[in-house]
């Protein structure tokens, strides 16, 4: 009896210890974000106060208004949204089409072409952007939405992910549909795509995150100029040197972060799935 209580107490202590560690870690990780939110609501003169305020006693919401309007966050957000939407939609479509061919159709050079698609994953943007900049310029796409989005409309990762999903679909389903008069395109839209929804969601979330957070390409493909700055490049412009500018740029950072936070809250599972695809068999 006594031993039991002792072990129970031991367990409770362990649990408490776990919570203590987890909570401490959470605080350390969230601390920069918390400070950012607090500081984004301060007056510039409060920023240099000692000790620094840990709660915004008189929240300066107009900092957000300033970031949104005079700080041009509204246009940056719109640019990012359009570019991201185009990339996500484009990647989903091109990946579905190609993955379907690899999973369901027979054709010469299938293996080779699949390897070609995967090989693109080995060629990072850091290697291709030199020429892509020339290509985009000669297409008169410099500083345009086309220039921002078109180079990313296809992805080997997406093709790989969706092909895996399509291969899970029993062959029988395709044959049954074929006997019922469904061609490949109809089978794709009516059966294959609906059945691959979890993978599509994973790919969509992954593409969204990747596109929204791009930095190097939007920088070089627009020359860092308005009006086509994405949020990420816009933040750089917003990050002024004067202290008076700091709360506004922090507000801008919060604004840029919010869509992704929502994304994480809703699609955590899909995001994890896509980020670990291939990591754990």
């Amino acid at each position: 009896m006594a031993a039991e209580t002792a072990s129970a107490r031991h367990r409770r202590l362990r649990t408490l210890g776990s919570y203590a560690f987890l909570t401490a870690a959470a605080i350390v990780i969230l601390f920069p974000i918390y400070v950012t939110i607090v500081n984004s609501l301060l007056r510039p003169d409060q920023l240099v106060e000692q000790p620094p305020p840990l709660v915004p006693t008189s929240p300066q919401w107009h900092n957000y208004v300033a970031a949104w309007t005079t700080g041009s966050m509204s246009t940056y957000m719109a640019t990012s949204a359009i570019m991201t939407f185009a990339i996500v939609a484009g990647q989903l479509v091109t990946s579905i089409l190609a993955a379907y061919a690899f999973a369901f159709l027979r054709f010469p050079l299938k293996r080779t072409l699949f390897v070609v698609c995967l090989a693109t994953l080995m060629i990072p943007l850091e290697v291709t952007f030199i020429t892509n900049l020339d290509t985009v310029t000669s297409l008169h796409w410099f500083n345009t939405y086309e220039g921002l989005a078109v180079p990313f409309l296809a992805t080997g990762f997406g093709i790989f992910l969706l092909r895996q999903a399509f291969l899970q679909i029993p062959r029988d389903l395709q044959e049954a549909a074929q006997l019922d008069g469904y061609g490949h395109l109809r089978f794709m839209t009516r059966v294959a795509v609906p059945l691959a929804r979890p993978s599509l969601a994973a790919l969509g979330v992954f593409s969204f995150l990747a596109a929204w957070n791009q930095y190097l390409w939007p920088l070089v493909a627009t020359g860092g100029q308005t009006p086509l700055n994405t949020v990420q490049i816009g933040l750089k412009a917003l990050l002024g040197q004067q202290v008076s500018q700091i709360p506004i740029s922090l507000a801008g950072a919060v604004i840029a972060f919010v869509p992704l936070l929502i994304l994480l809250l809703i699609f955590q599972k899909q995001l994890v799935r896509s980020l670990t695809a291939g990591a754990v068999k």
Binding site: A101, L125, F157
Partner: protein
């Protein structure tokens, strides 16, 4: 630089390489394809109609592949191969002069130039700062969060959260935290001169700190996924055998997780090699410490846009490519060994 987004979108060699290996070992795929192939070899005495159907199917396949292949061709393979051509041309530093053919003569001077070697050294230091710390922290968090506790979902969400932060957001956030006049540092009496981001000693570690914070989410996610794939019974069995937490961790968890850890190592190394954004935002070109944070990509971008020499940029980009290729091949080798000898 190194926002996870780009890493994922453009290279993420680690993820994909692993995927590739897994793929080649996939029996089901093989079987299905083999079925198709044998079928193809069947002599079809019936002739015309069947052959026509086959042709139609192949034609449809190529149509479906067309968009992706065209995009890959134009924006991946063409630039990749054109790099080799660019390497042969040098653009003189005087504006207005055309690039001239120099053959292979530009290569050796470029990769032996102090600027490039320093940049390579800087990058390696940066990688060494970022990779081990973010992996160890990610593993620690994953192990701590691998318990069935009430509310653990919230902790997991928090630990994963930095995965969605972009490099620009992280830079703005940490730029302020490290600001010498704002907030905590002056109050804590930490008042280095010059300030961290302007110090030749501290600028690079500061950028590394930002990168670690940003990579922590992904590191946690990868390690968690690895832990979840370890059968609970194994750890429970060890516990029943009386192994303490510490022994269990080193004797069971770490070995079982070694493929995951290695995967995380490759992903984070590639990620760190691509670092660019934070340096561009926080340090920039004008700053005095620029030479001490001149990581590879920053150097490439500068060579292209400031020095205006695509040839040299292409040479450096190719070096970067080779480094990443080496890492990916290493990853594949080790995974293969696991597949062959493991289990």
């Amino acid at each position: 630089m190194t926002d996870i987004g780009r890493a994922g979108m453009d290279a993420e060699g680690g993820l994909e390489a692993a995927a590739l290996v897994v793929e080649t070992h996939e029996a089901e795929v093989e079987a299905r394809e083999a079925g198709g192939d044998t079928d193809k070899t069947t002599g079809d005495g019936a002739g015309g109609a069947l052959a026509r159907r086959r042709r139609k199917e192949a034609a449809l396949a190529y149509v479906l592949l067309l968009p992706a292949l065209v995009l890959f061709g134009v924006f991946s393979f063409y630039p990749f191969f054109r790099n080799f051509k660019l390497m042969l041309y040098e653009t003189p530093p005087v504006p207005g002069l055309p690039a001239r053919y120099v053959g292979l003569h530009q290569i050796v001077p470029t990769i032996t130039s102090t600027e490039f070697t320093q940049s390579l050294v800087t990058t390696v230091i940066f990688v060494v700062l970022v990779v081990p710390i973010s992996l160890i922290l990610g593993l620690a968090l994953a192990v701590a969060a691998h318990r069935k506790l009430k509310g653990i979902g919230i902790y997991r969400m928090i630990f994963s959260s930095t995965v969605v932060s972009s490099v620009a957001v992280a830079s703005v956030v940490f730029g302020t935290l490290l600001n010498p006049v704002v907030g905590l540092l002056p109050w804590l009496g930490i008042n280095p001169t010059p300030p961290a981001l302007e110090s030749t000693t501290w600028a690079l570690p500061s950028v590394a700190l930002i990168t670690i914070w940003q990579f922590l989410g992904l590191s946690f996610i990868i390690m968690s996924a690895g832990l979840q794939s370890v059968p609970d019974e194994l750890l429970e069995a060890a516990r029943i055998d009386g192994a303490g937490a510490w022994t269990r961790f080193w004797r069971m968890t770490v070995p079982l997780l070694s493929p995951t850890i290695f995967f995380g190592f490759v992903v984070s190394t590639i990620y760190a090699f691509q670092a660019f954004g934070a340096i561009d935002i926080l340090i920039g070109n004008s700053n005095a410490v620029r030479l001490h944070t001149n990581v590879l990509i920053y150097n490439i971008v500068n060579t292209l846009q400031v020095s205006n020499n695509p040839g040299a940029a292409a040479i450096m980009a190719t070096v970067l490519f080779l480094i990443m290729l080496g890492l990916t091949v290493l990853q594949m080798r080790l995974l293969e060994r696991r597949v062959n000898y493991g289990r």
